[in-house]
Symmetry: C2
């Protein structure tokens, strides 16, 4: 039997044994269920945190530098660091490490060049790489000791002891030696020693070099170390096996191919078929077959597996923490449709939806409006589950109010939908511009749907039918993600939306996404989703904007709104507008955060009036720098003049005049909504022109910045972006345009030749932009 074992002995005097023996005791130790009782693999990534015994297999590609000049020491050390952390948490870590060949190659290549004559050196170069060939097994033998001493020295830094175990195929095939191996490894684990296993290349029969890997001229059979790892994992009853390689996980097709997609989870019974296409091709799944086979084989025997990229920082720690790294193998079939399929179905549905007539789209919305009344008992029953749940969790007040659906709310909702249905008749195909380019050549700019929208909303379940109606009216496919707190209500309301859709278009045209973690996946699918609209906190919106890969996001980052009270004002009006802007609904994004007062108001009855009113309304005031310098015992200074308090707090500051107010707002505001209160129309016009915000108001409360109050019907959201839609976004924000040209065979060459002449005559469009030809089309 060729099982070789060398337990490392701490070499430096400072690393004396009491220290390492005590090391786990000094660290926080978590206790896991015994190995015997958790022989069932984890079905969810979140279960991985309970893995007691973890095997990490590191492929050669991870430990070799991209330039193939030796070891990637940085990565190796990072893996050691992570494995040590987990070991010191009280887990039992096992490593299967490739890399000895690369390690030995690095040494031997220099050695051999030195020992060859110049003629040999020249003749030994192959045509491609220009490097001498060195027998892989020799490299492995040379590299093994160096790699192990490196592992040993690194692990020692964390007070972790290691043992080298070299094995060959017969060791795992032969039952007797497998038993020996198992008891050896168990003893090592019991002693808190990490066994590091590798194939004993020196005595192993040679492998066929694997042409598909990136390893250049010297190759180990990656395949074998994968199956070695999974056999060991099963034999040692580990809870989690991590296979580290140089791609991010298992893809549906070879990485880089069109439409290929990283699988975050791999369910053998399902993905087996999904991935088949990739397997047929030459490149296969990017050399991933052996990993899939090994991982599936281990999974079937109760070992959880993750295939991940060893080049990714902190991959091991993050996998054990349950984060979405690499591909997680599980037997649990995904519940519901995978999000990518949902997105694809919404795209397909949207194409059919936009080919319907305006009347047909209106009919769908009317049906939904009716269903809201017909099924109100069922809706309210589903809603009750959410409300009860909220009460159980101790929620109360406005949060629960927003959650509740009652007859009155459903009535209003149903009425609102009827209005949207009405507008659906003329939303699409509106002609915005009509130009006679040349004789018999007419160009029209018409409204068309954007495509597929993803709308993310919180708590209020009545948003679901509203948003669905807006999307249907504008011919867009839709993916909805509601808050968890309203899941029962949302599920039932979505069911009604689909019931209304089904007679005309596939019901999947409007999809409901149930899991929060799906959002991030959806934000990568720019081929299916055209626009994302998050409704909710500015944190939510900022997060979505960050995560989106190439899909535009409409939303407002913050709502730092101002009211400026100019010199000449009606004091009573100023107080009323300030009160309404701040106190009507302080949590709203259009509520005032900073009040700017003209300096002439300092210590006037108006100032006192505003101050008293704010005090009475329990508004806490933060002083701007100017105010702070004016009053000795005034309010505490504001930490920043750009702050969204979102509650009964606000900043108060003085400015010299309207010009300074404009500069202040453009500097500290968030371009949402800002108002001036003044009797001076010149100052007002200056303010309205120069303040660079989506909404600018004269003598009106900032709270009017709202789709309904603006008369836009239902509001999709409020945008502070400079392009597309700005301010409250109604249905117009869900539309884009398309240029349609009708000719009779013209070419640009006809015009260059002078045979034809550009006319560019603007043709008139009738008042509501409808166009007989387009109407016929819809």
């Amino acid at each position: 039997m060729s099982l070789t074992m060398m337990a490392s002995v701490p070499a430096r005097s400072m690393l004396h044994s009491p220290l390492w023996r005590m090391s786990t005791a000094a660290m926080p130790v978590k206790y896991f269920s015994s190995t015997a009782s958790c022989r069932k693999e984890a079905s969810l990534r979140s279960d991985l945190k309970d893995a007691k015994r973890v095997l990490v297999k590191v492929g050669s590609a991870v430990l070799t530098r991209e330039d193939q000049c030796g070891m990637a020491l940085g990565r190796l050390a990072s893996i050691v660091e992570q494995v040590s952390v987990l070991q010191n948490e009280g887990r039992q870590m096992i490593m299967v490490s490739s890399g000895a060949v690369a390690f030995g190659l690095q040494k031997l290549r220099q050695e051999i060049i030195m020992s060859m004559s110049m003629r040999q050196t020249l003749s030994s170069r192959d045509e491609k790489g220009g490097r001498p060939f060195i027998e892989p097994r020799a490299c492995g033998a040379v590299g093994q000791s160096g790699l192990m001493s490196l592992y040993e020295a690194m692990f020692m830094q964390y007070g972790v002891r290691t043992a080298q175990v070299l094995i060959t195929k017969p060791d795992v095939q032969n039952e007797e030696s497998r038993k020996n191996l198992r008891s050896t490894l168990n003893e090592l684990l019991r002693l808190n020693i990490i066994p590091i296993l590798n194939g004993n290349d020196a005595v192993e029969p040679p492998d066929e070099p694997d042409k598909d890997t990136d390893m250049g001229e010297i190759l180990t059979s990656v395949k074998d170390n994968d199956s070695l790892a999974s056999r060991l994992a099963v034999e040692m009853e580990v809870d989690l096996m991590i296979l580290m390689t140089n791609v991010n996980g298992i893809y549906t097709q070879p990485p880089g191919a069109e439409g290929t997609r990283l699988l975050s989870t791999y369910t053998p019974s399902v993905d087996n078929k999904n991935v088949v296409f990739g397997r047929k091709s030459k490149v296969g799944m990017g050399g991933m077959e052996s990993k899939v086979h090994s991982a599936t084989w281990a999974l079937d025997r109760g070992v959880s597996c993750v295939v991940c990229n060893g080049l990714e920082e902190n991959a091991i720690i993050n996998i054990v923490a349950g984060k979405k790294i690499g591909t997680f193998f599980t037997h649990m079939e995904p519940t519901g449709t995978p999000v990518e399929i949902q997105a694809m179905q919404a795209r397909e549905g949207s194409r059919i939806l936009q080919s319907l007539s305006g009347g047909q789209r209106a009919a769908i919305i009317k049906k939904l409006s009716d269903l809201l009344l017909q099924r109100k008992a069922d809706i309210i029953a589903a809603n009750k589950l959410d409300v009860d749940n909220a009460h159980e969790q101790g929620y109360a007040g406005p949060m629960v109010d927003r959650l509740v659906l009652d007859e009155v709310k459903l009535g209003t909702l149903s009425d609102g939908l009827k209005q949207i249905a009405e507008s659906a008749q003329h939303t699409l195909g509106r002609v915005l511009k009509k130009t006679l380019i040349a004789d018999a050549m007419e160009l029209r700019l018409v409204t068309v749907p954007i495509g597929v929208l993803m709308v993310i909303f919180e708590s209020r379940p009545d948003a679901l039918p509203q948003v669905a109606a807006l999307a249907i009216s504008s011919g867009n496919g839709l993916l909805l993600k509601g808050g968890k707190e309203a899941s029962h209500s949302n599920k039932f309301l979505h069911h009604l939306v689909q019931e209304a859709l089904e007679p005309y278009v596939p019901k999947e045209t409007v999809g409901l996404v149930s899991r929060k973690e799906d959002i991030q996946d959806l934000l990568q699918l720019s081929q299916y989703i055209d626009l994302v609209i998050p409704r909710g906190s500015s944190e939510l919106i900022a997060r979505i904007q960050q995560q989106s890969k190439g899909i535009p996001v409409i939303g407002h980052s913050e709502g730092v709104c101002h009211v400026y009270v100019d010199k000449n004002v009606n004091p009573e009006m100023a107080i009323r507008i300030v009160r309404d802007s701040k106190c009507d609904y302080p949590a709203a994004c259009n509520s005032m955060e900073t009040l700017l007062l003209h300096r002439s108001h300092f210590r006037t009855p108006l100032f006192d009036g505003i101050y008293d009113m704010l005090k009475k309304e329990n508004v806490k005031i933060h002083a701007g720098p100017r105010l702070s310098s004016l009053v000795k015992f005034g309010p505490a200074p504001a930490t920043s003049m750009r702050k969204e308090y979102s509650g009964l707090q606000m900043a108060l500051e003085f400015v010299d005049d309207v010009e300074e107010a404009i500069v202040h707002i453009n500097k500290y505001g968030s371009s949402h909504t800002d108002a001036i209160v003044t009797d001076d129309s010149e100052a007002a016009e200056r303010f309205l022109q120069m303040v660079d915000s989506a909404c600018v108001f004269h003598n009106g409360s900032t709270r009017f910045a709202d789709g309904y109050r603006f008369g836009l019907g239902a509001e999709v959201g409020i945008s502070t972006a400079k392009i597309h839609a700005r301010g409250p976004v109604g249905i117009e924000g869900l539309l884009t345009t398309k240029w349609i040209l009708h000719g009779n065979g013209q070419t640009v060459n006809d015009f260059a030749d002078g045979n034809m002449k550009y006319l560019h005559k603007q043709l008139s469009i009738d008042s509501n932009g409808s166009d007989s030809e387009m109407e016929a089309m819809n």
Copy 2:
């Protein structure tokens, strides 16, 4: 004298001396100029590649894990890896390493807990961290040996030998011992050994713990190791000193503060003042003063310095390669205005520009139009420099044609500008929507400028005045970046633009950016720039889209345009449209890349006619899968059906009918421009509606997709995005909107109370959207 030196001796038998002694010989060696001849520091980052002697100082923060549980082994190893690579290239590397304290703390913390009684353990915990305090110098003493043996083991993997040198302040202060130190280090460098220096903490007088760093309760004085490094660098006449820390470099203000900015270069005479603001505050420059002082001190003595983040991958290698990592200290004052200032000036200028009347903006453009004629001799002279340059570099043909400015071109250009001036009168303040919200409460949606645009264009210098005129007309500030090949022409034309601007607004309202590397910096400045419009190759546009941090980019990723020839067609028309779409200007984004033919045309005279015409025009055909299966000896198969050939090549494929053509185009197209040739109006309408592209044409060449041909006047670019502007973008694409509300003191509460009622009455707007009130405003 307390200078301690221990040269490391290779310990493992395999690392026998011949190997390491030969190691540099076996690697490619670059020879650098001798140290004596390059005592002048590098003025440009690109000079750093010639640095022969490099000192790398690694701060404790780099080597300590964020959770403060010991060493960040991964980072340490990565630094060793990089230093080894540079050493093996033939450079002389010197390291100054902190981290011994952290290293020792890791060991001692466990040790001390073990040796304390429970009572001691409890009482020794401080209020915050809950960890026992350990004397930093004791930690340093314990850590030193461990850290060195780790360095030694790691460097040995690359055949690099190291020597430990411990020094105290007196060693560098005292001239005698400094001389000894220098000769020792020089001898080590001569022997190809990397000296690793550290303060000898055990004998050094204690430092005041520095409260500003993140190191928790145990602190070394980072300051001292910085000045130690710079003293050594000067003493040893190194060419480059790299100070590694845990922030990205020197910031204008404390990192995280509003408006703070990383300085890519630091010129003491200039930035000295710029950074002053940060220095005043408590946090200082994020603990960066000592680094700035040390680096400036060394710079003044001929040592190039870079301060960088040690947590960034490959920082050392990239710095030596001249990449823009961290802050580079140089005496060379930046030429021209820093781009951030340019962007700020464009923002300020834009505010004034939009407050001008339409007539004033028109006057600027008319003046520019006149200047193009008045100064034509100068323009042509400047242009000649560029043209001659292009000829010298062997360019010819279309590239040079696009570059040339002659009297005819300038005449056309001047005329075009007059048209833009005309339109400038009515561009801004146009009322798009007018709503009576309630009594005495009117809401208007008006056109306003976007703000500041950045336009990146290639070769054609006539684009500069055109784009400038469009920006001025729409009240936008502008930053222009032209191609290097037209730099003389662009510079002069920009000068004319500024001459035209100056009577009305600051001339910096339109800025010219000269260096390519500035683009990336500008793409981070979302506070100053609102929209980026790259004009040029799809690679350029894709790169810009990737680099932009939060600034929207208008552009088309690709132009994969299709012509579909339906069943019932006029053969002559089909051939003409196909020829024009492909051959008129094959490099344009609106030229056809794929021709789809209805299957009924297979082996018909029409098919032969198209085939012969393409052959005559020298168009190379790539066969789609269907065509490949139909003909045995046909054209070679296309590698992909989504390919922009941008030349006299194209794909040819058969489809069953219009439905299949639509599916094909939506799948493989780039949503740019697609045309159908058919006599069947039903098929045409189906195609126009269902093809999801910015431009869809019936019986017209795809080449018509162009701002000028569409009658939009000058074109800013073509967009394939779904939001904002789609297709050819004229001046409309440079505008956004603003909601303006005039009230007389209303609050939303008035409506909630029932005192007021929403009317939401749409008011009519006169035909060209002008509005008396707004006109008065402008």
